[in-house]
């Protein structure tokens, strides 16, 4: 089973129909374990119980960037390999990525209120995530502006790749512009600064949320394929009636 075999939507549908229940189950178990561990984690000596927002906030923030990476790969699939499912994958990922980015913003804002004393700060990390969110919305707007899916797919693929090239530049400029958020503390040179009691639930939650993304993405891809079939059936019916 290679990537090429999945080019046949029917094969893809039957394969995902077998995989999806297992994936959904694994996601639910991991998220339950992660939430339990997060609830049992000790309070931070400075932040108190609010530190538990981190277990939701950080996985969402990771995924907000990861999903753009997935869409960039799908964009290459559309432009370079012309894989028939690549544009389905790209289209299905965009709203999910926007949702994760939105959740990262909301949880960050709720965490910022007790910690920084304000819901919103024009701080570098918050601002660059907000710009990422705007770019997701622009991409979704582009998908929705065109009725021909393959034409929209190529335009969206180019925009996704340009965005992938530009996002580091935007991130760097916004960092340069203003910074207040703490620097990265989980993945960095010289080991994590996060205590083990927080790190393990965080990693479990991160894996759980990633599986949640895969589950939702595959389900959305199935929906998109079925939606396209319905659409082409409707067009066929309409043209038969016209003739």
């Amino acid at each position: 089973m290679t990537l090429i075999d999945l080019a046949n939507p029917t094969k893809f549908l039957s394969l995902t129909a077998r995989i999806l229940p297992w994936l959904a189950g694994a996601t639910a178990i991991l998220l339950l374990i992660g939430l339990y561990q997060a609830a049992m984690a000790p309070d931070d000596y400075q932040q108190g119980a609010t530190v538990k927002i981190m277990f939701i906030h950080v996985p969402n923030a990771w995924l907000s960037m990861f999903v753009w990476g997935v869409m960039s790969l799908a964009a290459l699939g559309t432009l370079v390999w012309r894989h028939p499912l690549a544009d389905v994958a790209a289209k299905a990922a965009a709203p999910i990525g926007a949702a994760f980015t939105f959740l990262a913003l909301v949880t960050g804002s709720l965490w910022g209120r007790p910690m920084w004393g304000t819901y919103w700060q024009w701080d570098a990390r918050l601002t660059s995530v907000l710009i990422l969110f705007l770019m997701y919305l622009g991409l979704i707007a582009l998908w929705r502006a065109v009725d021909d899916p393959s034409r929209a797919a190529r335009a969206a693929a180019i925009l996704t790749l340009v965005g992938a090239l530009n996002l580091p530049i935007i991130k760097f400029s916004v960092d340069w512009w203003n910074t207040l958020h703490q620097p990265a503390s989980v993945l960095r040179m010289g080991g994590s600064t996060l205590d083990r009691a927080f790190l393990i639930p965080l990693l479990v939650m991160a894996v759980g949320f990633s599986l949640l993304f895969v589950t939702l993405h595959l389900a959305a891809m199935r929906n998109e394929i079925l939606r396209r079939r319905v659409r082409s059936l409707q067009i066929m019916q309409a043209s038969q009636q016209a003739a």
Binding site: L79, I131, L134, M135, L137, G138, A141, L142, A145, V146, R151, A152, R154, A155, I158, L159, L161, V162, G163, L165, N166, I169, I170, F172, S173, V174, W176, W177
Partner: protein
Amino acid sequence: MTALAALIRRDIRIALRVGGGALIGVLFFLTVTVLMPFALGPDLALLTRLGPSILWLGALLASLLTLDRLFTSDHEDGSLDLIVMGRTPLELACAAKALAHWLAAGLPLIIATPVLGLMLNLDATATSAVALTLLVGTPALTFIGMIGAALAVTLHRGGLLLAVLVLPLSIPVLIFGVAASQAAISGPLPFGTPFSILCAISLVSFVIGPFAAAASLRHGLD
């Protein structure tokens, strides 16, 4: 080479003649700048402090406004298809079109800057700093915006969609353009640091812009 020069000459000529609309951008720039004191109040000290940001915002919006014309009129009369099918590499043709567009619509903004700076009570240093950063930064806006223009023309959608797609990508240019102007006026940073980053962003956009626009035209027109 002569083909590209001819393309540039043609585009500038069309833009400057009746129906070209390149100079509407300058008029828009002027109007936006005149609106600012109504919104902020006629306090000259405040306008001096905000002047560089106002000019940068105005120039950004004005160059966005004229982007629509980069490909649409050529698409309507069919010459865009000839350019796409022609022997000149499409990437180079796109770069030439963007250059012509900047000469016709971007350069007048920079020429207008000293006059507008006077109205915002900017001194000579501040005005020249803003003009210099605009001179380096607006080509980046044109080349980044060209990607959006190419996408919009292949989708037969212009206007707001173009703005929504292009504006987030132009944030770095705005940040470093304003930062360099402020550095020249009040410090404490040396002018050179943000200015060279602005130059770097422009150079990167010269590479990304034509390739992405050409890819979009090639994949999108059929």
